[in-house]
């Protein structure tokens, strides 16, 4: 009996080793371990044996059954893994095909992106964002901003008029005035928006976008303006940038400056051995106008907001063109591209 059990174990183990598919293994299981197979029969017959034989025979038969089941299961598991792999390989697809469903691409206009980028710089510096009407009073657009009664910018050849005292704002600066009339200092705001001038040529469109900045507080200085614009220039054009201030003239600031940023396309005006086309070899690029708020501007609002007494507060203001910044930064050669809305242009900046 014990001999037969040992025989069965050897025979089945050899057959398991020889088996090459899970189906063969399944056959072996039925043949040797199924209900009618020899080993289960032996186990069932143990109770009929002589009591002295029952112990050893039962133990051996049971151990044999456990051993064989284990051998078949192990082998079966190895087959299952391999066969699954095989099936998965057959299920392969071309993963170089595009995803599905394909989303339509979309994107913000370069002007909006540039505007947001600049807004975010000043939000970080603690500025709020003020907005105001585009159809504006002459009083706010020119008078309150210290433009002389005959200032050429007032001329109908330069400025769009809607009526005698109403125009399309030529800068976002009137929002300065509107903001100061309702908000006492300290005041830190930027004013983005559309503005209009009667120009239409290669470098001007009659409609364009500006961001104006205004900081009014006790002791605000020209050095503060310089530091603020330096922070701005580094944020927009890169940490290596420097700025320089050149004295200039604007009616609503005194002193007034134009601000250049160091060219980011060349080294000292030379790019690839040639004169740099971006800065015309000067190593500097003009980006904006600025200055200390003229006392006359404070005076124009201090009737209603006495806190803007020029003896008490000082301030700086700056104004820059979004189109210019966007074109400089993103190498856009022609202003018209920004208003053409060609999808092939728009998707380049999506």
């Amino acid at each position: 009996m014990l001999e037969r059990i040992s025989q069965i174990v050897d025979e089945v183990k050899a057959a398991v080793v020889a088996a090459t598919t899970s189906a063969e293994l399944e056959e072996l299981r039925i043949k040797w371990l199924g209900r009618k197979a020899e080993l289960p029969n032996i186990l069932r017959g143990v109770k009929d044996l002589d009591p002295s034989e029952r112990g050893p025979a039962g133990k051996a038969a049971n151990e044999a059954r456990v051993e064989l089941e284990g051998a078949i299961d192990t082998k079966m598991a190895s087959f299952a893994g391999a066969e699954l792999e095989l099936r998965l390989v057959e299920d392969a697809v071309d993963i170089t095909l595009p995803g599905h469903p394909q989303q339509f691409p979309g994107g913000l206009h370069l002007l909006t992106q540039t505007m947001r980028e600049i807004e975010d710089v000043f939000l970080g510096l603690g500025y709020g964002i003020a907005e105001g009407p585009e159809v504006e009073l002459v009083a706010y657009n020119f008078d309150a901003l210290n433009h002389a009664p005959h200032h050429p910018a007032r001329s109908p050849s330069d400025t769009f008029y809607v009526g005698d005292s109403v125009l399309l704002r030529t800068h976002t600066s009137p929002v300065q005035v509107r903001t100061m009339l309702v908000t006492p200092p300290p005041l830190y705001v930027i004013v983005p928006g559309r503005v209009y001038r009667r120009d239409d040529d290669a470098t001007h469109t009659p409609q364009f976008h500006q961001i104006e900045g205004l900081a009014v507080d006790e002791g605000i200085s020209l050095a503060d303006l310089k530091g603020t614009l330096l922070a701005f220039a580094k944020a927009i054009f890169g940490d290596e940038r420097e700025i320089r201030l050149r004295p200039h003239f604007f009616p609503f600031t005194e002193p007034s400056v134009e601000v250049d940023v160091s060219c980011f396309a060349c080294n000292q005006g030379v790019a690839d051995g040639d004169r740099c086309g971006l800065c015309k070899g000067t190593a500097w690029i003009e980006i904006l106008g600025a200055g200390m708020v003229d006392p006359n501007v404070f005076a124009s609002v201090s009737g209603e907001q006495p806190a803007y007494d020029p003896g008490k507060v000082q301030g700086f203001a700056f104004g820059l063109g979004i189109e210019r910044i966007a074109m400089l930064k993103h190498s856009v050669p022609d202003l018209r591209l920004l208003y053409d809305n060609d999808i092939r242009f728009l998707e380049q900046f999506a």
Partner: protein, 801 residues
């Protein structure tokens, strides 16, 4: 303004190169637009020549053989191809050995068999400009033959083209620029050319001048020069004028131009013998005319300032002289006028007549009255130098040069406004170099302003002078120390950004549209004659009629952009814009409500390898985009059919967008006539009021409990009359299905013959769930039945099983 560098250096020479001087000027406030090098590298072998003969070349039609006196014992034979060469001309000659600006050296050479010993030069060949119509013919007075050409032409010159800001008319003369250079560098400033005045004050015999409006003419001065005879403009002056872009004409005209170049004051000269009686500066009367120097007869506009004599207008003040009193070769007595005119009036008159000149351009800037007396003084020196005459005794002066005023300047204010720590020396130094007179009293400076600095009236004006001359590069860069803590977007700004972002995520590109549009847009959009959107704000002075009104809808420029893209072959067009429209308001200004809108054309989903030909966008594609935007902002919204559809939309495929129960926009297929008008293939559009979104979007989102119990899903298909909308069915289901109904959606719409002409089958998918227990299938079925019964009762729905 063109400034010959050599002239500038005569007054202040800091020993710097042209580039360095440009940089110094730019960083102290005088922008240098261009630095131009004139002339040749080496001016030796360039001489003045006189053409003695000019005969046809025997073997070449286009060449002439000239004999030219070049100051040598024998005339030179020069072959010349210029059509304008002729005997008697005074010309510029490059002799053998001369090196032309292009680098070519002139040699003796045979031209078609005739030996030529030099070249008669054109303007461009001498590096003086672009003129190449023929040879440069010099004034006879440029001679004699053989004189070095560099003495009469700027052959070795650099020209700085300066942009003088409108506040600095004192820099409209070279001496003013020299003072700037002196102030910025500290290099010596030579004494002013007007300092030694040869003329005298007091009454002037022979002419009387009256000024009727002293606002138009702050000062009028005049001197008389008599006994003028033939004279020659000194070559150096001629060369400087040429370099500054003014052609030498005659000594008397050259004097006026040279004074203008150096001092900044334009002068006018009358032939005294042609003035009829006394002069009056007055406003022109209606219908008056004047014959001007250029030979035209000009109609004057009433009120324009003129100078008149007994014979009527004789000159348009500050703009152009009159022909009647023009100086000519026979003139022996002149009246020299130096006046200060009202800038804006000069601007208006010169613009009206199209007569912008160096002179009117200066007057427009508002010159200081003191310029007039300076101009007279320098002119007197030049008359003496050129004609050898002194001015007749006396000077007409109507008006005054004004009185110097003094400004108090606090030392602390300077440093507070600049953010600097300047010493007293660094404050007084720049001011004194600029011509201010400074006295110090403790912490306060008393600063007397020169008469030509009309722009300096307040302490801040002085601080600007200090800052720019001390040097802005020395200024520190600091940040304001305090802040309002206001560094955040307003709710409106935040939501506008979110709307833009949602439109981008739904696959749209943002367009930048024009605020202007054509009045005809309303017709193209088929707006009714009483449509309020026809009531647009009109510009008084548009660039063109196509841009003459402000938009009342975003649709126009979106359609224009879509049309351009379609014409260029774009298959997918999905453009949006956010921005204001401009609606007339009662106060004469405008309401500028912010909108967002889009135009979509092409496939409704992106074609790919699974679905190469998706259906074309329709109103539901647009609603999908709107839904993505409004849902992302948690707005309550729906689309409702409308009795009077928008005229530019398909009447059966359009609707009103309601946000929080109020109409807030429109959506629909474009009307086929509108699509055709813009050359589009179909297309859908929408426009929504951004403010409606802002007020409907919850400021803060609050948690609502989520049930831990499982959901039971069930479907129901009902057949209803086609006039019943899906929204109505859903509304009933939501009402009746409460509280177990968690959500309901339409999963199928079917129309077919077996349903009958006017019926539609609507498949509804319910999600049932209880908050407090596991809902059984039977309970769910009961709710479904409740909904079905309500649909049957209220809408005549039949279950499709």
């Amino acid at each position: 303004m063109k400034v010959p560098l050599s002239l500038l250096l005569e007054f202040c020479d800091p020993g710097l190169s042209a580039e360095e001087i440009s940089s110094v000027l730019a960083l102290s406030g005088t922008e240098v637009e261009r630095v131009t090098r004139l002339g040749v590298e080496d001016s030796s072998n360039f001489v003045v020549g006189v053409v003695l003969t000019a005969d046809q070349h025997p073997d070449a039609d286009r060449l002439k053989v000239c004999t030219v006196d070049v100051g040598a014992p024998e005339p030179a034979t020069i072959v010349c191809g210029a059509p304008n060469v002729g005997a008697g001309q005074t010309v510029a000659v490059a002799l053998p050995g001369a090196v032309m600006p292009v680098g070519m050296m002139i040699k003796k050479a045979k031209l078609r068999g005739v030996e030529s010993s030099g070249m008669i030069c054109a303007e461009d060949e001498l590096g003086l400009g672009k003129g190449h119509q023929g040879i440069l013919v010099l004034a006879e007075t440029a001679g004699p033959a053989g004189r070095a050409l560099g003495e009469v032409l700027p052959l070795d010159e650099t020209v700085l083209e300066l942009e003088i800001t409108p506040n600095r008319p004192d820099c409209l003369g070279v001496y003013g620029v020299a003072r700037e250079l002196h102030a910025a560098t500290g290099a010596e400033l030579k004494s002013a050319p007007w300092e030694n005045d040869l003329g005298s004050a007091g009454a002037l015999d022979g002419i009387k001048v009256s000024v009727q409006d002293s606002e138009q003419c702050r000062i009028f001065t005049a001197r008389i020069y008599e006994g003028l005879s033939a004279a020659v403009t000194p070559p150096a002056i001629a060369a400087h004028l040429t370099a500054a872009g003014m052609r030498p004409i005659s000594p008397v005209v050259d004097i006026t131009n040279y004074v203008m170049l150096v001092v900044g004051e334009p002068l006018h000269v009358f032939d005294l013998d042609k003035i009829d009686g006394d002069l009056t500066v007055r406003a022109a009367a209606a219908g008056e005319t004047v014959a001007t120097l250029d030979g035209e007869s000009r109609d004057l506009v009433e009120g324009e300032t003129i100078i008149a004599d007994a014979g009527g207008p004789t000159s348009i003040a500050g703009v152009m002289g009159g022909a009647r009193s023009e100086v000519g070769p026979d003139t022996t007595r002149v009246l020299l006028e130096a006046a200060t005119w009202h800038g804006p009036s000069i601007n208006q008159t010169s613009a009206r007549l199209g007569l912008r000149s160096e002179a009117s351009g200066r007057f427009e800037k508002g010159l200081a009255p003191v310029f007039a007396s300076r101009g007279q003084a320098f002119a007197s020196q030049l008359f003496g130098e050129i004609y050898g005459v002194a001015p007749a005794a006396g000077t007409v002066v109507v008006g005054a040069v004004g009185e110097a005023h003094t400004i108090k300047l606090s030392h602390a204010k300077v440093n507070s406004l600049m953010g600097s720590e300047l010493t007293a020396e660094r404050i007084t130094g720049p001011l004194e170099r600029l011509g201010f007179t400074v006295s110090v009293d403790g912490d306060v400076f008393s600063v007397e302003v020169p008469l030509d600095r009309l722009d300096v009236a307040r302490d801040v004006d002085l601080i600007e002078e200090i800052a720019r001359i001390d040097g802005l590069e020395k200024l520190g860069a600091t940040l304001p120390t305090s802040s309002t803590g206001g560094g955040r977007l307003t709710r409106q700004q935040k939501i506008r950004r979110q709307v833009q972002d949602a439109l981008v995520s739904s696959g749209c590109f943002e367009a930048a549209g024009w605020s202007f549009c054509a009045p005809g847009l309303s017709d193209r959009l088929r707006l009714a004659s009483d449509d309020s959107r026809r009531n647009a704000i009109t510009l008084v002075n548009p660039m063109s009629s196509e841009e003459s009104v402000l938009r009342t809808t975003l649709l126009g420029s979106l359609l224009d952009s879509a049309a351009r893209n379609a014409a260029r072959g774009a298959a997918v067009i999905r453009l949006f814009e956010t921005g204001p429209v401009y609606l007339p308001s009662e106060d004469g200004l405008s309401d500028e409500p912010q909108r967002f809108g889009a135009v979509l054309c092409g496939p409704s989903t992106r074609p790919d390898w699974r679905n190469a030909s998706p259906s074309t966008v329709d109103v539901h594609a647009a609603i999908g985009v709107i839904g993505q935007v409004l849902d992302s902002l948690h707005c309550e919204w729906r689309i409702v059919p409308v009795a009077e559809p928008e005229p530019f939309l398909h009447p059966g495929r359009s609707g009103v967008i309601e946000i929080a129960g109020r109409p807030a926009g429109w959506v629909g297929d474009l009307h086929p006539l509108v699509s055709t008008e813009w050359g589009l293939d179909g297309g859908v559009a929408f426009e929504v009021d951004l403010n409606a979104v802002i007020s409907a979007s919850p400021e803060v989102l609050h948690y609502s409990p989520v049930s831990a119990h499982p959901m039971v899903g069930q479907d129901l298909a009902v057949v209803v009359d086609a006039a019943v909308s899906a929204a109505e069915l859903i509304e009933i289901a939501e009402e009746v299905g409460s509280p177990e109904l968690e959500s309901v959606s339409v999963f199928d719409i079917y129309r077919g013959k077996q349903l009958g002409e006017n019926s539609v089958s609507v498949g509804l998918r319910f999600a049932f769930r209880a908050d407090d227990r596991t809902l059984t299938e039977e309970e769910a079925t009961a709710v479904r039945q409740r909904i079905l019964e309500a649909l049957q009762d209220r809408k005549g729905a039949q279950s499709r099983g």
